[in-house]
């Protein structure tokens, strides 16, 4: 590539260096995309939405930090994590569309579903900073809990009946290990930093704690697919206990999940924050029907 002519790069195709790639249907080379006969397709569709929405919605929240992080190095780190989750979301929503077989792609599913059709857990959608509802400590508390829980979930999904979900889980585990490590490093530093940071970290953990129970309450779809999230609890507790001990934080008492007529995120019943999140995310796409991007 020549740097004497700024425009040569426009016709010079070196996609290997492009940070995000383009063809996401080819992001899992060699994986069989036939829907296996052993899995109920509507259940698999719903489950791909649950997993994809978890990743998409948390990515949307983390990207809110862009240009607002406590230090430039952290700006870069948070963007990396948001990009990893967005990549997972795209693979899972693309898979959901394939399994459904109605011609919906990742964008149709992300932008044209209404709130009640989103299946993510509440933990992903609540406001934890940088805007109202939290701060950097709260964001790290959420990320620690979310990534510890996802690791337990994806570990089991590596042997899931659907080869695409299994491949996404195997790929995602490496990313999540980094996310969990990043969050744990910060929870320890803030918990065992200054009196102010300790107090903020303690408050951050309390802010996310009521949303833990939902993570371990399996939905009927999950149970039918043989993924019982109640079984993740001991593993996640072990991780949190170890981090809290190093961070000189006390583990809060368990708080039972607050549900609406027994329903929560997996059933499409969300917190008040979700409508605003979707309004912002979907606005441009919906206001230009038929546009190509």
């Amino acid at each position: 590539m020549s740097f004497d002519n700024a425009y040569e790069s426009l016709i010079d195709h070196e996609d290997t260096h492009w940070a995000f790639g383009t063809g996401f249907s080819e992001a899992l080379p060699g994986v069989d995309r036939e829907v296996p006969s052993t899995v109920d397709a509507p259940d698999l569709f719903a489950y791909c939405l649950m997993l994809g929405d978890d990743a998409l919605v948390l990515s949307q929240r983390l990207a809110e930090w862009c240009s607002r992080a406590p230090e430039l190095e952290e700006d870069v780190a948070l963007a990396n994590i948001a990009l990893d989750l967005l990549g997972q979301a795209r693979l899972l929503l693309t898979r959901a569309g394939e399994v459904e077989g109605a011609g919906r792609d990742e964008d149709a599913l992300a932008y044209l579903r209404d709130e009640r059709e989103f299946r993510n857990v509440h933990l992903a959608e609540i406001e934890c900073g940088p805007l109202a509802g939290g701060d950097f400590a709260t964001t790290m508390a959420r990320l620690l809990v979310f990534s510890s829980w996802k690791i337990a979930q994806y570990s089991r999904l590596r042997t899931f009946d659907d080869p695409v979900v299994a491949a996404v889980a195997a790929k995602g585990l490496k990313e999540l290990a980094y996310h969990r490590d990043h969050a744990a490093q910060w929870v320890v530093r803030l918990g065992d930093g200054t009196p102010e940071s300790h107090e903020r970290m303690r408050a951050g953990v309390r802010r996310v704690w009521p949303y833990l129970d939902e993570l371990f309450t399996a939905h009927a779809v999950e149970l039918r697919l043989g993924v019982d999230s109640a079984a993740f609890r001991a593993e996640v507790d072990g991780v949190l206990d170890a981090v809290f001990a190093a961070a000189r934080l006390e583990r809060p008492e368990p708080v039972p999940a607050a549900r609406v007529n027994g329903r929560a995120g997996r059933d499409g019943v969300h917190t008040e924050a979700m409508g605003y999140l979707l309004a912002e995310m979907q606005h441009v796409h919906r206001s230009l029907p038929g546009a190509t991007w």
Binding site: M1, S2, F3, E73, A77, N80, D181
Partner: protein
């Protein structure tokens, strides 16, 4: 009052079989965070397989040419000297 973090020099091994090469510097509160930040800042496009970080204050440098008085006056100060990446072959230079 601002709490700024110390400066770390970053070295990346581009691929197996090559030396670690100085690629730049960054700020971090401690070594663990420095190596993590280095991963994000300097290997976003898979530029490395291994990273070293060294506190900038721990580096002792020789003068580039001890005999040449041109370099003598600042020999007592280890200024930080990121060299970033090796100049790519396809860049006309320099």
């Amino acid at each position: 009052m601002s709490s700024s973090w110390p400066l770390w020099e970053v070295f990346v091994r581009g691929k197996r079989g090559l030396n670690h090469v100085h690629v730049g510097s960054l700020h971090a509160p401690d070594a663990e965070m420095a190596v993590r930040n280095a991963r994000d800042v300097y290997t976003r496009r898979n530029e490395g397989v291994s990273i070293w970080v060294v506190p900038a204050s721990a580096i002792t440098a020789s003068s580039p040419d001890e005999k040449d008085p041109f370099f003598a006056p600042s020999g007592d100060k280890v200024y930080r000297h990121p060299t970033f990446y090796d100049i790519p072959e396809d860049v006309p230079h320099l």
